[in-house]
Each structure stands twice: as structure tokens, then as C-alpha cells.
Point group: C3
Chain length 259, copies 3
């Protein structure tokens, strides 16, 4: 995997020059657009896939924010609560990844776009959640898209930050899942991903495929597509067929004391 | 807004020289006093307002610690639990802010004063919580003071760390609210601020007013006072009149499956 | 206490050269072995105690992971949930310590050994938890070993990172206890250590003894042993005799409103 140019490694964290460092679609968007503003400085071609990824990434934030707002609606929070939970769900995974990698401040403090998207979604859900019943299944599917996207993009960011391949896979899983865990913990529920559905496993598979392909020298774009396809495919099958991993079942005679 | 002198930006994080970097009352206190020890080096005048702010800041920690200890008393924890919850409530917001800004170690690991204050308050509550009933309303008001103070001071620290204005406002809100959220999450309650009262909104308004005034070139001291007045005023009205934002109310026919 | 050589302070975070910086048994293990790979460069003797500590440290991770997996079994999670909770319990304390110290990435992203151990333990518990009833008491004791070890090693790492003595003691307590708190919070339980048993206090005593001895000039190895002995001893007595600190008991007439 080619390392980013060394000049980029030392870029200041608050300015936009890390669109140069990360060289990824997601960062180019964060910095306010690719070729127009930074292309000349960074000399990075913005491909058609990059443009698509930007929108998918934004869609991922929006979808996770919507899932957070739906939980807020079940807890009967006010509008501020909706926005806070939406932001926690949408930004949580990327924030923990950035903290673990030592990338501060995290992405949502560098560009207000993310916050604007999450807030808008939260407000929209606040006024329409009673009609969303019929769209719940659609939300599940969109959530699967977000999961696939964040697992792969999280792994990519970790790789570019110098993480070894297995660590990059882990960080992809963290990026894709921690937002939902934080949402459930704050709302006082046991994270459902931990006991019901194939969720973390799909993120793990997608991130692993992406990292494996990159380590083997495959170009970024096909590797991204393959990783996302694997993650989304596994999650899709799990949703359609109701697949889940076997949960632990207690047996007779096991009743150890509280711990 | 004038940037801090560049020499200060590289100050080592464990030593006290960041009283130079932050140039704020809160830091001067943390470093053990203003003009006496560091004034000569930093050339910063310690104004009367600075001295007042030091005490208010300490009062803020104390009040948040007391609210944490009160929750601990409802959960019937032991004295160590009281201290831990008090520390989490008092330090949580500032710690998350410092982690997001990349300022490590956080403030409470640099000066033992904070821990001493939080512990003393926790122990005091442990022995007097049964008498505090009549003081509950007083606590609410003191808590509002802490909220106002931390929102504005958190935004100031973020500004001095180089955050853009909107990011500084967000970090002010994080500073003022995260301690209470962490307290409620650890104690297994849904954070009440998320569903009942105007709380985060007051912090947001105060931090926004402060940052706006600073960006417009207003001096620090009047801007601090104005920001705190706005945050405290909104919170005060909310307490007095029982104001709250409209919470989400479910309508008939909305009963989507568990997620 | 002698400071680490200054060249070590600037070592890059992803590579193994911080076995040089930390000069501790735990780091030598993390870097894949002491004298063989790094001894020549760092000039650190690996003593017999170092070798023992490596295994104890690994045992600590394993035991905390097992306690996490046991909680997962009570919540009837699937195998992935077992692994996630085991990892959170085993790595949580060290991760928070590393984040607070600004040491990124945290240890478990630098060497896959830790993850392999935690995962293996989680899978083993998944298949054997119904038989573990009779071993619950053994687990309690092993957990006490982990507590003692992590409190002292966490304090050591903080000292070497430049923390002042009282801050190092705090970070030792954080290292020893936060994993269990995160486990309970994610599983939606009130952290039991906060209300039932002498737990945090044992970690505090052990870390304090270690740091005190080090500050007084005692060598590392006897100080480590003394600190661990104190922490384990206090915890052992608490388990054997059912000692606990007096919890707060509500009195008549105290019924303040919800907050």
C-alpha cells in the first residue's frame, strides 16, 4: 500500500490540509470539495467513485442519525435530545476511531457539514416519526449501507494513519458499530447488536476483505467496492432471512451468584 | 481574537507553562496562582474578574460533584462510590473536551486541587445527604451557575486551542453537559437533561453568545460575563417556570418493531 | 525515580521502540520479547521477575475477559457479543489510561496477542459457562490478581510517562477498574464495584504503596511486589470476610424530587 506523501503527515490538524493526508473521498468532502479548492495543492484526482463515496458517506451519517432519532422518539425526548442522540449515533464510531488513532480534533469538529446533516435529520424525524412505521424496513436497509460504508472507510483511514492490517480491520469495526452502542448505552438499553443479529460480523468481514485486498496490492477503488459489497451482502442476508448467531443459552443448574 | 503567543503553543503538557498558553483565569488557578508564580514569565495581568472566576470555577466543580454524590446516595453506594461518581460528574465534561482537543493529560491530572475539592464534597454529602432535602432547590440553582460557567469557559479553551467558532460553541456545550450524562449513564438512568428540561439549550446559547462577542472583537471579560448571564438566565427561567421543550409524543398506530 | 532516556520520549507510537520508553515488563512483552529483539537496542536487562510479570499481565487480561464473558452469558449474547464484552472488560482500563496520557494508539492496537487472548477466553466461556458455577469463586480470586497487577502496572506506566505521583496513583486505579465499569455500563447494570465491595479501595492502596516506594527510591521489583501484595491482600480479606464499606442508608424524611 503506498504511504501518503511525508509532507502530509505533519499537516496541522485544524486546517484542511489533511484532505491531502488522507487522500480519500471522505476527507475531500470534509474539506469542502475536491479539485476546486484543494486539488491544485494536493494534486489528487477526484474520480467518479470519489464523488459517489462522498454522497454515500453523507448518507451513512444521515442514516445513523435517523436511527438515533428513532430511539430518541421511543424515549420521548425533546428536540434537543433528538439532535444529541442523532449526533452521538452518527459521529460516535468515527470519534472513537480518531481518538484511538490520536487524530484530534475528530472530523465533526473540522467541518460543520456533518453536524448540519445530523441535526436536520433529527429535526425531520422529530416531526415525522409517527409516520415512519411503514418505512422502518427501508431504514434497516439504509442502515446496512451505512454499516458497510463506515466499516470500509474506517479501515482505510486507519491504514493511512499507519495501523497494521489487523488493527485497521478492528478500527473499521469500531467505526461502524460504536455509534450504535453509544446510542443504546445512553438510552439505557442493552446494545441490540450484541445479542440479536449479525451486525458486527458483517462489518468485520467487509473491513477484512478491504484490508486484505489493499495489502495484496489491489487498487483502492475496487477494494472499496468489494469490501462494501461483502459487508452489505452479509448484513442483507441476515435481515432478509432473520439469520442470527446462536446466542448463549443457560442450562439447568447454572445459577452462580451476582457479580 | 488574538492568538496566544506562539512560544506557548509548544509548552509541555505536564508543566504549568500552559497557564501561559491558555491565558485564562481557570488555568492560572490550576497552576497554583497567577502573578506570584507565573506572572513574571507570562506577563499576564490577573484582574479582579480573574480572581472571581477562579472561585466560580471551583464552585462549579463542587456543585457538579455534589449532584453526582446525590445520585450516588439514591443508589446507596459506599463512600468510594460517592467519590468516584462525584469525580466523574465534575471532571467528565472537561475531560472529554480535552480529549477531543488533544490536550492530554486532562486538567484534573495536572493539579490535585480539583480532586481534593470533588472528594471533600462527596464525603460531605455522604454524611449529610439526609438533611439536604431542604437544600435541593439551592442545589438546582448552584448547578445552573456551574452550567453557565463551564459552557463559557469550555468555549474559551476551545477557541484558544484553535477551534473555529462553531466548534468552540459545541465544545462549550460538551464541557457543560457531558459530566451529567456520564453520571446518569454509569448510574443506569436515562440522562434527564435529554428529555425533561431546558439544559443543553441554555449551555448552547451561553457559549454562542460568548463566542460571537469574541469573534466580533469584544474583550474577554465582558464577553465572559454576557455569555454566562445568557446561559444562567435561560436556565433560571426554565427552573422557575418549569419550562421545557415539547417532548416527542407518540401517536396512534405507530408501533414499529424493536431495533 | 530515574527518567527514561530522552531519546525514548519521542519514539514513534506504532513501532516497538516504546519498549525502550516504558522499560517495563509489560511493554517488553507487547513488543514481542525482551532481550532477543530489543535488549541490544535498549540495554534493558530482563529479569526473572519481568518474565513472571509478563505472564501475570496476560493472566490479568484473560481473567478480566472471562469476567466480561460471564456477564455476556447472563445477558444471553451471541459469540460476537461475548468477544466484544470480553475485549471491553480486558482492555477498557488500559485504553482509558492511554487516552488520558496521550499515548495513542493504545496497547491492544499495537500487538495482536492481547486480542487473541481475550477472544480465546471469550469463546471458551461461551462453550463452558454452564459448567463454571463451581469455579465462580476461583474466578473471584483470579480477578483479585488482575486487579492488583493492573493497579500497580498502570501506576508504573503513568510514572514513566511523566505523571506526578498522585496522578500516577489515580491512573493505576483507572487502569484496574474502568474495564469492569465499562462492562457493566454496556450490559446495563449499575457497576457493582460502586456499591458493594472493597474494590477500588484495594487498587488505590496498592498503587499508592507502589508509587510511594518508588518515590522514596526503592527499586522497581520490590516495589512492584509490595504494591501488588497490598492490593491483593486487601481484596482477599474483603472477599473472604465479606467486608464492605458502609453504604449510604437513607433516613426518614429524605425524599427530594427527581433530578
Amino acid at each position: 500500500m503506498p504511504a501518503p506523501p511525508s509532507a502530509c503527515r505533519t499537516a496541522s490538524s485544524w486546517c484542511c490540509s489533511d484532505c491531502c493526508r488522507w487522500r480519500s473521498a471522505i476527507s475531500a468532502w470534509r474539506c469542502g470539495g475536491g479539485r476546486g479548492r484543494h486539488g491544485g495543492r494536493c494534486g489528487i484526482e477526484v474520480t467518479a467513485l470519489d464523488a459517489l463515496l462522498r454522497w454515500l458517506d453523507l448518507a451513512g451519517i444521515a442514516v445513523f442519525a435517523a436511527s438515533g432519532a428513532l430511539v430518541a422518539s421511543r424515549k420521548r425526548m425533546d428536540a434537543v435530545g433528538f439532535i444529541l442522540i442523532a449526533a452521538v449515533t452518527g459521529f460516535g464510531g468515527g470519534t472513537l476511531r480518531d481518538l484511538l488513532l490520536g487524530r484530534t480534533p475528530p472530523f465533526w469538529l473540522r467541518d460543520p457539514t456533518w453536524l448540519a446533516v445530523a441535526s436536520s435529520v433529527a429535526v425531520a424525524v422529530f416531526f415525522t416519526a409517527h409516520r415512519i412505521e411503514s418505512r422502518f424496513r427501508a431504514l434497516l436497509w439504509a442502515d446496512a449501507v451505512g454499516l458497510a460504508l463506515f466499516a470500509v472507510l474506517g479501515a482505510e483511514i486507519a491504514l493511512l494513519a499507519g495501523a497494521r492490517p489487523w488493527a485497521a480491520v478492528l478500527l473499521g469495526v469500531v467505526t461502524a458499530t460504536f455509534g450504535g452502542v453509544a446510542r443504546d448505552v445512553i438510552c439505557n438499553e442493552i446494545p441490540l447488536l450484541l445479542r440479536k443479529e449479525i451486525y458486527a460480523l458483517a462489518a468485520l468481514a467487509g473491513a477484512a476483505v478491504y484490508v486484505l485486498l489493499r495489502v495484496e496490492g489491489v487498487w483502492r477503488d475496487p477494494a472499496l467496492l468489494a469490501g462494501m459489497a461483502v459487508a452489505f451482502g452479509i448484513r442483507a442476508v441476515a435481515i432478509r432471512r432473520g439469520w442470527s448467531l446462536p446466542a448463549y443459552r443457560p442450562r439447568l443448574g447454572r445459577d452462580y451468584p451476582d457479580r
